[in-house]
Symmetry: C2
Subunit: 109 residues, 2 copies
DNA sequence: ACCATTCATCGTCGATCGACGATAAACCTG
DNA sequence: CAGGTTTATCGTCGATCGACGATGAATGGT
């Protein structure tokens, strides 16, 4: 089932994912999309308590980072988590962080 | 050992960690610190190819995010990865991303 | 004691972010 | 077709980022 998670992630990819995650509002949006399965922008607007245009901007950032997919559905827009993107980001970030080992566990610094 | 990794990470913590990771230069710095066990700012400067003041700024960001520790060592500064911080960030980010499940695997969006 | 080295900080500059309101486009509904 | 809804985009504004050079403080070496 690990379809496209194996693509080597560059540092630019890592940074893009991390940057997209680096804002509380976007975390709230991701959680909202994941928890409720909510797909409608309007509901996200209510949950995060920001202006509709601001939420739209954050959704755009998340979409361009590949963490969220969205398709227009009539007058509304259906936004979902991009499972592949989330998995790739998780693997890449986890791999990065877990691959780091401190040179000295509290000894030298 | 893994003493304080269990502290509940807030969204603000998540965002701070992710933000600190959201820049290629800082990823390079982390990798440099991890790979070589390098502790001296000057070496990091050479590796990442940025001005010394810029690297110092990035190191400050990483330190304030809790991913790196640094102590002055004579005229130099000894910078190391903060194993606890890195582990906490990894656990928190991984937990967040792995806890998200798409409402529809490619079906609705 | 003097000088060289190393690093942190300051000031600056352009670029980007984050928020908002306003507006436009697309789409149902009556 | 007219009116209402939903969303994306534009323009704006202040704040922050990211880069640099210059400066200063602390230390080590001669």
């Amino acid at each position: 089932m690990t379809a496209t998670v194996s693509a080597a992630a560059t540092d630019a990819d890592l940074a893009r994912w991390a940057k997209a995650l680096g804002h509380p509002a976007r975390l709230a949006i991701l959680r909202t999309l994941g928890a409720q399965g909510t797909c409608v922008c309007g509901e996200v607007v209510e949950v995060v308590g920001l202006a509709q245009s601001t939420v739209s901007q954050h959704l755009k950032v998340l979409r361009e980072a590949g963490l969220v997919r969205g398709t227009p559905d009539g007058t509304r827009s259906c936004y979902c988590l991009d499972g592949g993107g989330v998995a790739a980001a998780s693997a890449a970030l986890g791999g990065l962080l877990d691959g780091l080992h401190a040179c000295c566990d509290g000894a030298c610094c």
